[in-house]
């Protein structure tokens, strides 16, 4: 018998009594009086920066105010309107090509107020690594897409299959040496979230 069939057989042999699946939607999950305010605070609490932009404000001008962006030489962008972007992500044939990107701008489809997490979907291509190899990251999310908690997040998030998506909450971090928090472990050293509109 194959390992698969043998494992399934021994699990079936356990004959566990049926237990009902509870309805998660009945949970009175936390909601906030001001979802934007809570989201901005959560982003800061997880080590990021949060900047509010009005509809029609220039993203480029806002980025210029980010010191890491102003200092960067190689900039990659997955959103339009980033004048400084000088890495052609559509031309990436090997993910190693983006190893020296200083700054990356990505867009998120959702933001979750309780955790500051942004839902970033990678739409195919070979440039996914840029999200993690870049030294600094900015994420653009629309204010209208902010939700209170993760339950609402999954209710709205479309998970790509086949594909990749990530809840990203602030910059990369570690506390593996003496519980001392260090920002910038392997991924982005800073994370600036722009809430638009």
């Amino acid at each position: 018998m194959s390992a698969r069939d043998e494992i399934l057989k021994s699990l079936r042999a356990a004959a566990v009594a049926p237990a009902p699946l509870p309805d998660v939607s009945l949970l009175p999950a936390v909601r906030y009086p001001d979802v934007r305010d809570r989201f901005a605070k959560s982003v800061v609490e997880v080590g990021g920066r949060c900047v509010a932009l009005a509809e029609g404000d220039s993203l480029e001008a806002a980025l210029q105010a980010v010191p890491e962006y102003a200092a960067s030489r190689k900039v990659a962008s997955l959103v339009s309107g980033v004048a400084k972007a000088n890495v052609d992500l559509t031309a990436v044939r090997d993910p190693h090509d983006v190893r020296d990107v200083d700054f990356c701008v990505a867009s998120a489809e959702l933001g979750v107020a309780e955790s500051g997490a942004c839902w970033i979907v990678h739409h195919g291509g070979k440039n996914r690594a840029v999200l993690f190899l870049c030294q600094h990251l900015a994420v653009v999310v629309r204010g209208a897409t902010l939700v209170h908690n993760l339950h609402e997040g999954y209710a709205r998030a479309a998970i790509p299959s086949p594909g990749f998506a990530v809840w990203l909450s602030g910059p990369s971090k570690t506390a593996d040496i003496e519980q001392s928090l260090v920002i910038g472990a392997h991924g982005a050293r800073s994370c600036t979230v722009f809430v638009v509109g």
């Binding site: 998506a165 990530v166 519980q179 001392s180």
Partner: protein, 448 residues
């Protein structure tokens, strides 16, 4: 002294380290309490988590089949392993058939449990653990001492010395920020040079066929977005029915583990990247045996947050290595005897049964009850030392008989300080009262 007590004795011999470790781990428990306080529905959330796991375990084979079907549809390749040996053979087979000699790994307690690193290294594969804490203990050729914070037993000066030897950092450098930066540079090279990346799996979604991996460092994402092969290893118990239920566990996991509202990266992998391969290895390794045992079944609900370790007075004061198993602490002490009851017979006794583990467990595993159940079972199997057996037998006999209890109490009040007792090795026995509680109470009632 051998086993847990012996190894714990070595750990507590360094009094300063013992107290530092105790505080460092307790600090994380406190962060969990703060995070929990911001979620008014926390207790309901725990109940939901527990119920969802109970449901999933009750239909585990069905969910595994559903998961496999959807994972295949997304383009992943699915492998099944009955035990550690088969798991290691499958992983090595994938690597060797593609001539991979450089593998980067993110944290996976399952592969630790299976001894994968050693297996691959013996066969000529360079295995690099990329989680900072895991890299530290890998350099030291020792296992993690905690499932979330693998190097929690080490001081920054020791890490500094280690990095000086291994990575050429300046002698005496012990600033965590500088050491983490050195590791970042070192591991970037490893990520870029890797031919394959291996990750664990925090959750596998039956309805979508995807796997979810949680890290704070971003190491799983670097390890899977650069090389063309991603191998994800998971125990059969990692299934959740759908994303709706996944939300419950993601809200519980990081808060319970480190006090964060969610991990920095919570990555959803469905099928491989374009032009790449995704292999999912589903492992039993004793889990189906636990599923059969109703009194221990709840232990399969574990989401590996480590909260039971952080709160455990024994873990905090004896260190993770004293348990001698991959998963230490209360949860490890109820899992290990399933694999080898004789070898790990002392672990269910490495507890005061205070129940704090049960109080913090995000999926409401009845940890201290299972520890107690194991004590009884190990005793019936004849795996408990004679001294402990005699004491339990006599204690049980006395507690069942009021007259014996009274007589024994009187005897103990007279002779307890004279009886040899390991408990008093590090502690003073309080002075014995002259009268029993019953006698004192009777007097008090009469004087009113």
């Amino acid at each position: 002294m051998s086993g847990h007590a012996g190894r714990a004795a070595e750990f507590v011999a360094d009094d300063a380290r013992l107290h530092w470790h105790d505080q460092a781990v307790w600090f994380v428990r406190n962060k969990r309490d703060v995070a929990r306080s911001f979620v008014p529905e926390w207790e309901e959330l725990r109940t939901l988590g527990s119920q969802i796991k109970a449901h999933t375990l009750s239909r585990l084979p069905d969910y595994l089949e559903e998961f496999e079907k959807n994972a295949l549809a997304a383009g992943a390749q699915v492998h099944w392993a009955r035990d550690a040996e088969e798991h290691n053979r499958i992983v090595h087979g994938i690597l060797s058939s593609r001539s991979v000699t450089r593998l980067v790994k993110s944290k996976s307690m399952l592969t630790e449990e299976c001894g994968l690193n050693h297996y691959l290294e013996e066969r000529g594969v360079e295995v690099v653990d990329t989680d900072l804490g895991e890299r530290i203990v890998q350099f030291r050729r020792e296992p993690p001492s905690h499932i979330v914070m693998p190097a929690i037993h080490l001081r920054k000066e020791e890490v500094g010395q280690l990095f000086h030897d291994k990575l050429g950092t300046p002698a005496g450098l012990s600033d965590p920020k500088a050491l983490a930066e050195a590791a970042r540079q070192h591991l970037r090279e490893k990520f870029l040079a890797a031919q394959a990346g291996l990750t664990g799996v925090n959750f596998a979604i039956a309805s979508t066929g995807g796997v979810v991996v949680c890290t704070n460092e971003g190491n799983a994402d670097l390890g899977t977005s650069l090389p063309p092969i991603h191998i994800a290893c998971m125990g059969v118990e990692k299934l959740v029915p759908s994303p709706r239920e996944l939300a419950v566990f993601l809200r519980l996991l990081a808060r319970s583990a480190t006090g964060q509202p969610i991990t920095t990266y919570t990555s959803h992998f469905h099928g491989p990247r374009p032009g790449a391969e995704l292999h999912i290895v589903i492992v039993d390794h004793g889990r189906s045996r636990i599923l059969v045992r109703e009194e221990y079944r709840n232990s399969l609900k574990c989401i590996r947050c480590g909260a039971c370790m952080n709160t455990c007075p024994v873990y905090r004061r004896s260190g993770g290595h004293s348990y001698g198993v991959t998963v230490p602490g209360p949860i490890g002490s109820i899992l290990a005897p399933h694999i080898d009851p004789k070898k790990h017979a002392d672990l269910p006794f490495a507890s005061s049964l205070c129940g704090s583990c049960t109080d913090v467990c995000p999926v409401r595993i009845d940890l201290h009850h299972q520890l107690l159940a194991w004590r009884g079972e190990l005793s019936r199997l004849g795996l408990v030392p004679l001294g402990k057996r005699i004491v339990s037998r006599v204690g049980g006999w006395v507690l069942l008989r009021t007259w014996a209890y009274r007589a024994f109490g009187k005897l103990m009040r007279m002779f307890a300080p004279l009886v040899p007792n390991p408990w008093t090795r590090q502690r003073e026995l309080p002075p014995m009262p002259r009268e029993s509680f019953r006698a004192q109470w009777r007097k008090r009632v009469r004087s009113r």
